[in-house]
């Protein structure tokens, strides 16, 4: 055999080396502490993806890639500056009149470019779009809060980026007050914590773990989530767990799509569930999906609703 | 010596297919490698054509070890014409032959006018020039083979290796290829080493033959020296007749089927058949070209059908009936006319007992009778013993007693020999 290992071996090695070296080139910069509390531009902001973005001037044209961000922008009084939203942005009503730049997971980069935004707010599933927008020097901030605290800091960050310190502080302040109010009431609760089962979806049976937003709301409301902490945020569960833990309250969300939501009747009549506490006491509570699945000021509304459901006796 | 094979042993894995082969090929020689299947012919050729490196030994082309040569260099000196075309893709003939120039071209070198000239020459010498633009997939077997030879020629080799190039070809193509190789040898000084299956073909065209048996070289030499009846018997395990047109000339092998005597003597034979036992005998008789009559056989009987088919004259009886007086008379008449009467191991019932009695009478009269006694008469006797008695009497009289149709034929041939001399 006259096979020249040397030559081809060298070529291979060279290729791999080249690849390896090049692969290490672009390293993410480390997140920096955000000391600049003032409203001076240019402003450096660190987003949830650890990216440091510098805004040269106050953003007057803002595009939102997520209904949650849209709600926050409107709540901060920045509705006028919005030049692009997704087709799913429906709250508040004024959002429906805004120009559309695509769906939730499929934003159109071209449409975003055409809107000439100074700032784009994205979620953590928009990585493709973020990369593309960065390539054409459009400022993108990625926010994906999962807890109440993170929601507040996100609203604060967005407000700061937009240059509206005062409005932001007011909004966040009032939201925090309401949260404290709920906490105070819950502190008066007596007796064992009610066991709560939150159903995300019925086929397959999916619930939410403690590490999700709704999970946190349940905890803040003094309830005990029968799922607890789990690595999977929205685990598919076996019916047996429900029968085993015998929850006192069941919550679910409606509004996914008209014909698919189970009615309370249907839930109460599910085979094998007759002896469960919440079926016996008819304690099935529905929550509007958008309150639970989105983050924003309305998350506090959600908290209040959940608290009332868990401890109705404290909220008369 | 242009090619030297020195102590070459080849094998695959743990099995050795060729052991310790040593031979030399002279320039301009036409060497034929022959031997039974599995004797290592193809392996030897593969080793010599730089395809299968030997486990031991060396192969030299003009003093140089071919396995130490770079592939392209080797391909400039030796070329291989394979057994099967492998021409499954619709290249043109010219494109295929042009591939023979690959060993002469450097990586980026395009084919030049000289290459085209050489290809043209190769096509011309193999008589395929007018096929140049045809697709190889459309060619006949002979044409494909010639194209492969043309491609090999385009390599401008000194030695041509051919692996059974004619095995799948019609007779006319076989001769055509061999004649072409002859021409190339004498006109170009090409050396050819060919594995060949057909011994007669090899004998007629090769200078020397190398005979392989069970992975070893059995012998080598000119066809006249090598192809003897003894060698064929020892290497191939069968009998043939070898003849030479003139003394010391190229031998021709003649296959010897069982019936192989030229029928100089013409016999008339009467077969007392019936019951389906005469098929083979009829066949042998037919091959000999002798005149055959049969009787008395019932119409519809399988022996009757066979006799009729062969065109023998048959003394017939009606189906499933007894033999009548008239038929019996005709039967005896036929026996008297014949040189031999043969009684195969037919079953006897009351219906055809007259046949047996007629044969006994012939034998007692002294007419030549051959009785084929296979199995016991008792098993064939459906007459309750009467047939057996007559049969025993028959055997005691002067008859040729044999055990098979072949032996019956042998008896008649021996006597024919006697007649001839």
């Amino acid at each position: 055999m006259y096979f020249r290992w040397q030559k081809t071996g060298c070529v291979l090695l060279l290729l791999l080396l080249m690849a390896g070296l090049a692969g290490c080139q672009k390293i993410q910069p480390q997140p920096q502490a955000n000391d600049n509390q003032g409203v001076a531009y240019p402003m450096a902001i660190t987003d949830d993806a650890g990216r440091v973005v510098t805004l040269d001037k106050q953003p007057l044209r803002i595009v939102s890639l997520s209904p949650s961000h849209t709600e926050v922008l409107f709540a901060l009084g920045l509705g006028d500056r919005i030049v692009g939203v997704t087709t799913y942005c429906d709250y508040p009503e004024e959002a429906l009149d805004k120009p559309k730049i695509g769906g939730f997971s499929t934003p159109s980069v071209e449409k975003i470019i055409e809107a000439r935004p100074d700032m784009v707010l994205a979620g953590d599933m928009h990585q493709q779009a973020v990369t593309a927008l960065e390539a054409v020097n459009i400022k993108v901030l990625v926010f994906s809060p999962n807890t109440m605290e993170e929601i507040f800091s996100t609203i604060t960050a967005i407000g700061r980026a937009a240059g509206e310190q005062q409005t932001t502080q007011n909004l966040v302040g009032s939201l925090q007050q309401r949260v404290s109010g709920v906490a105070a009431k819950i502190a008066q609760a007596q007796g064992p914590k009610p066991r709560v089962f939150y159903e995300v979806w019925h086929e397959p049976l999916m619930s939410a773990s403690q590490n999700t937003l709704i999970g946190e709301l349940i905890t803040l409301s003094g309830g005990e989530n029968i799922i607890g902490a789990s690595a999977d945020l929205y685990p598919m569960i076996n019916e047996e767990i429900i029968l085993d833990k015998n929850p006192d309250i069941m919550m679910h969300s409606y509004g996914h799509g008209d014909n698919e939501n189970p009615t309370v009747e249907q839930i109460l009549n599910r085979p094998g569930w007759q002896h469960l506490n919440f079926v016996q006491n008819k304690k099935v509570v529905g929550l509007e999906a958008n309150l639970v699945n989105r983050y924003g000021p309305r998350s506090v509304d959600a908290l209040e609703l959940v608290a009332q459901a868990v401890h109705p006796e404290l909220f008369n | 010596m242009i090619v030297d094979v020195l102590g070459v042993t080849c094998g695959y894995g743990s099995s050795t297919v060729l052991s310790d082969a040593t031979l030399q090929v002279s320039k301009g020689e036409f060497l034929g490698i022959v031997g039974p299947n599995g004797s290592g012919k193809s392996t030897l050729l593969k080793a010599m054509s730089r395809v299968l490196p030997p486990l031991h030994g060396r192969i030299l082309l003009q003093e140089e070890d071919i396995y130490k040569m770079r592939p392209a260099r080797a391909a400039r000196h030796l070329a291989v014409v394979p057994q099967e075309a492998g021409l499954d893709f619709p290249f043109t003939v010219e494109a295929v032959v042009m591939m023979g120039r690959i060993p002469h071209l450097k990586r980026f070198q395009r084919e030049g006018p000289q290459d085209r000239e050489i290809v043209c020459e190769a096509l011309r010498r193999t008589n395929t020039l007018d096929l140049a633009q045809r697709l190889v997939t459309e060619l006949s077997g002979g044409e494909k083979q010639r194209v492969l030879i043309a491609r090999a020629l385009a390599q401008e080799p000194q030695v041509l290796f051919l692996d059974e190039p004619t095995s799948f070809l019609d007779l006319n193509y076989q001769i055509e290829i061999m004649e072409l190789l002859n021409k190339l040898r004498f006109e170009e000084g090409l050396t050819a080493v060919m594995v060949v299956h057909d011994l007669n073909l090899a004998s007629q065209y090769c200078d020397n033959l190398l005979v392989l048996k069970e992975g070893k070289i059995f012998t080598a030499g000119r066809p006249a020296q090598v192809l003897t009846e003894e060698l064929i018997k020892e290497v191939y395990g069968c009998e043939v007749k070898v003849e030479q047109r003139h003394p010391g000339g190229r031998p021709m092998l003649f296959i010897q089927p069982l019936i192989h005597r030229p029928n100089t003597t013409h016999y008339r034979v009467h077969v007392v058949g019936g019951g389906g036992s005469c098929g083979l005998l009829f066949h042998y008789l037919q091959e000999q070209g002798w005149e055959v009559s049969a009787g008395v056989i019932n119409i519809g009987d399988s022996d009757w059908q066979e006799a009729k088919r062969q065109g023998f004259s048959v003394v017939e009886a009606a189906p499933f009936s007894e033999i009548g007086l008239e038929e019996d008379r005709l039967n005896r008449q036929a026996m008297l006319k014949a040189d031999y009467t043969i009684l195969p191991p037919i079953p006897f019932g009351s219906g055809n007992l007259p046949n047996l009695k007629a044969v006994l009478e012939m034998a007692e009269r002294g007419a030549p009778v051959i009785v084929i006694d296979e199995g016991s008469i008792a098993e064939r006797d459906y007459t309750g013993g009467e047939a057996s008695q007559i049969y025993k009497k028959l055997l005691q009289s002067q008859v040729h007693l044999v055990e098979s149709a072949e032996q019956a034929m042998a008896v008649m041939e021996r006597e024919a020999d006697g007649v001839e001399q």
Binding site: L12, L15, I27, Q28, V109, I113, Q128 | D88, M99
Partner: protein
Amino acid sequence: MQHKKPISIIIGLLALSLIILMLIGIGIGAVWIPPAEVLSLINGHLNGSSSSYSGQMQSHDIIIWSIRFPRVLLGAMVGVCLSVAGAIFQGLFRNPMADPYVIGVSSGAALGAVAAILLLGSLGLKYSYSIPAFAFVCAVLTILLVYSLARTGGKVPVMTLLLAGIAVNSFLSALQSLAMFYSGDQMHQVVFWLLGGFSSRGWEYIWMFMPYAVIGTAIAFLYTRELNGMLIGEEQAQHLGIDVERVKVMLLIAAALLIGASVSVSGLIGFVGLIIPHVVRLIIGPDHRVLLPMVALTGAVFMVGADIIARTVIAPEELPVGVVTALIGGPFFIYLLRGQKSSLYK
């Protein structure tokens, strides 16, 4: 049969179609830009006046130049790579059914790329040039696996090749699903990428992809003569002085480079390597010296066309390009299989 087709005319036509399709590709998108403006923007970019744009003109220029142009260009180049890789496989395996996707090599490369994305993502590294390298290595391993599985008695018959491809594909798909299952919050991105497509592929993808693609294509073109020789059988190729083993290795490396590069940038796009070489061979014949360039051009045209279809058929949503090529390629594959049935039992 007349086989001296006017090759130059065909090449000219193909090149023209490519340019036209690319222009169409650049002219189509979510935002409507009139053709005249498209042309003048391209022109402006070429003569340097684009830096002075502002307002809507500027955003249109950005769309044309930074979003659409690289996408279309990448589509063309991936088309070249996949079809040349297909031609290499079909020539090496002497088998018109060989295609990077069908025989599982694309899946192997995809797995490598997925692993790279997840690995680097979890380290906080921005994925770049390493991805095609990972994909290349996995492609090589997959090729070796499939080849050794399918080879019987020195040949690679249709039957065993397809079966080996199915087996390997199934196994790799399972591994991919596993990878996705464990990818956590990157799952969405991985799934999206695996589906195959050119959306949001900017210039940096082109830079990432280029070296591998160029080297792979160059090697393929270098060995066209040997590929011709391999078509008549490995043993006979050896007789012609071709170093068969070495040629095989080089060509397989080239194919792996091409596939690894393509899969890294555009995910799993199947059947291109199957259809294009086969169709072109029917028209041009098996001589690789003309076949490869034609295949490359045709592949580019096909891919750009498929991407245009993917973008417009359910606008404003986008179909993954892999779906378009599968819809065209699947029936073609079945048709090929029927033609092969008679020879399947050899």
